[in-house]
């Protein structure tokens, strides 16, 4: 018996124009949500409304349109901050999680990391939470170390605590793995890291869209997320940080808007968060993100999470019945995000994705921007199905049928 879903999926599907599209003559089964999500009409309307009614620059022009645009942009900041339990003055709009970690690398890392300092991240990170620290370590001749994983795909906390004894300057960890789905106890990790004197960075790209998040109780110094993975537009995301820390930091980009006064030999900086938002900001997409936050808040993040746990539970019971199916990551749906990474016998994930695409089933295949994790799993690539509010049991049934067809074509 299927449990009744906590959200009305049929009603939600009707809000997404793209889900009405036929792909290859078939209903679109979109299971690539960890890569990017589809947009409800409400988000699309917010963008169209901005450009058709009150397009203007913000924080400069005193005319009506300028006032309206500024109010809408700052209202979006309030929403994006409140959504994760943060303060608007501590929220910097960025392009996405990648820009957020790079902002920390430059604006914090340049003045706080010295030769020989230890930076710590983990084996399950997305490249956006590895490469910036590699570049920082290289430039500062600091040392970057990786916390390993347990066989069940969770972080080796013993190893983590051992590394903390070496007083790292920075600890960077993902809240939820984009491959394994593992949900890390970032609250406990940040608390231990802080006691060891480290500044903490948490990658929230896969958590903020899918579960209630409260940055206050997590206690990270920097918490980052991307708008396009939570029904919002591409090109907008947020870095939520402690205001005091942001005030101590140097700017990221220099230019208009981020200054207070500019002289020929020096400049002074605007207040936080504007100090970190140089140039004309991404006004429309920030407003679009605000609309996405409204949409998700109306559903309720506790319900979004409960819905995904049900789908995960169903997928983890249904899909392993397909011959040759191999699942990666923790086996308890309560301990993982709505991400199912798998392989099917010796079928390469790209071949699998090609075969599934014929049935209008969109999954991701490849290394998922997590090559160190792929090496740890000892695979070149995995296939990945990831869920969201508009997915239901029928999508998982379609995936199962598609996998069976792939198995037949490959004569498994």
């Amino acid at each position: 018996m299927l449990k009744t879903e906590p959200i009305d999926v049929e009603k939600i599907r009707a809000d997404f124009p793209i889900l009405q599209r036929r792909v290859k003559g078939k209903r679109l089964v979109y299971l690539d949500n960890a890569a990017t999500t589809q947009k409800p009409q409400r988000v699309i309307d917010a963008l169209v409304d901005f450009y058709s009614r009150y397009n203007s620059n913000v924080h400069r022009s005193v005319h009506t349109l300028g006032e309206e645009a500024t109010a809408a942009y700052e209202a979006a900041r309030e929403k994006a901050a409140k959504f994760v339990g943060g303060q608007a003055k501590g929220l910097i709009f960025v392009r996405g999680t990648t820009e957020a970690t790079n902002l920390v690398r430059f604006a914090w890392g340049e003045n706080n990391v010295k030769k020989g300092d230890l930076l710590v991240t983990t084996m399950m990170e997305h490249h956006s939470n590895i490469v910036p620290w590699q570049l920082l370590a290289k430039r500062k001749r600091a040392i970057l170390r990786f916390v390993g994983l347990q066989p069940d795909g969770t972080i080796d906390l013993g190893q983590f605590e051992d590394l903390l004894k070496e007083s790292p300057k920075l600890v960077a960890v993902t809240h939820c793995s984009n491959v394994l789905g593992t949900i890390n106890d970032v609250s406990s990790m940040c608390s231990k890291a802080r006691k060891a004197g480290a500044v903490t960075v948490v990658d929230g790209a896969q958590s903020v869209p899918h579960m209630p998040v409260d940055v206050g109780s997590i206690g990270a110094d920097f918490y980052a997320y991307s708008g396009h993975k939570m029904l919002g537009p591409t090109g907008i995301g947020a870095l939520v940080a402690k205001k005091k820390l942001l005030e101590e930091m140097e700017p990221f980009h220099g230019g208009g808007e981020m200054i207070r006064e500019v002289f020929l030999d020096h400049s002074t900086w605007n207040d936080v968060p504007h100090k970190f938002e140089a140039g004309t900001v991404n006004i429309a997409d920030a407003i679009g993100l605000g609309a996405a936050v409204d949409y998700l808040s109306a559903i309720g993040m506790d319900k979004v999470r409960a819905h995904e746990v049900l789908l995960l539970d169903y997928a983890m019971h249904t899909l392993p019945k397909v011959k040759g199916f191999h699942l990666y990551g923790p086996s308890d749906p309560e301990k993982r995000g709505g991400v199912v990474s798998f392989n099917l016998a010796d079928v390469h994930p790209h071949d699998l994705a090609t075969i599934l695409d014929e049935e209008a089933i969109a999954i991701r295949s490849g290394h998922h921007c997590a090559q160190p994790l792929m090496r740890w799993l000892d695979v070149a690539a995995t296939a990945r199905a990831s869920f969201y509010v508009y997915n239901s049991y029928d999508d998982i049934d379609a995936l199962k049928a598609g996998l069976e067809r792939a198995g037949a074509i490959f004569k498994i």
Binding site: D346, V347, H348, P349, H350, D351, T354, I355, E358, S365, G366, H367, Q371, M374, A380, A381, I409, F410, K411
Partner: protein, 139 residues
Amino acid sequence: MSSADIYREIILDYYRNPRNFGRLEKFDIESHDTNPLCGDEIEIQIKVGEGQKIEEIKFLGKGCAISQASASMLTELAKGKQLGWVKQLSKEDVFRMLGNPDLGPSRVKCALLGMKVLKTGVYGYLGTRYDDSDSETPV
């Protein structure tokens, strides 16, 4: 064309039992490349014999059925041919060899990785440079 046609018996056979798979102890040409999108990887070694002939050729690789079967079939075709043949080799030749499957733009790169590695190695040996602007892979 459906994927049942792309993954014909012959492609699956070359994927699971690749011909000329392995390394040569002595070789004159060695070439290696990857497709960052898929993580496909191909390495080719060639021993050049008299008259600029491909006397022996082996490849190593990992990746999807299309990339691996294509590379393996290519080594079979190349064996015994003169190096000049490699320069003449075209994308269309590779597609024909695979049975002209209907591949989307991202999967075409899988099919052509073997040819890219072969050409890069042979062009280098002949003192020229293979310009692969046609099959440039995005990072």
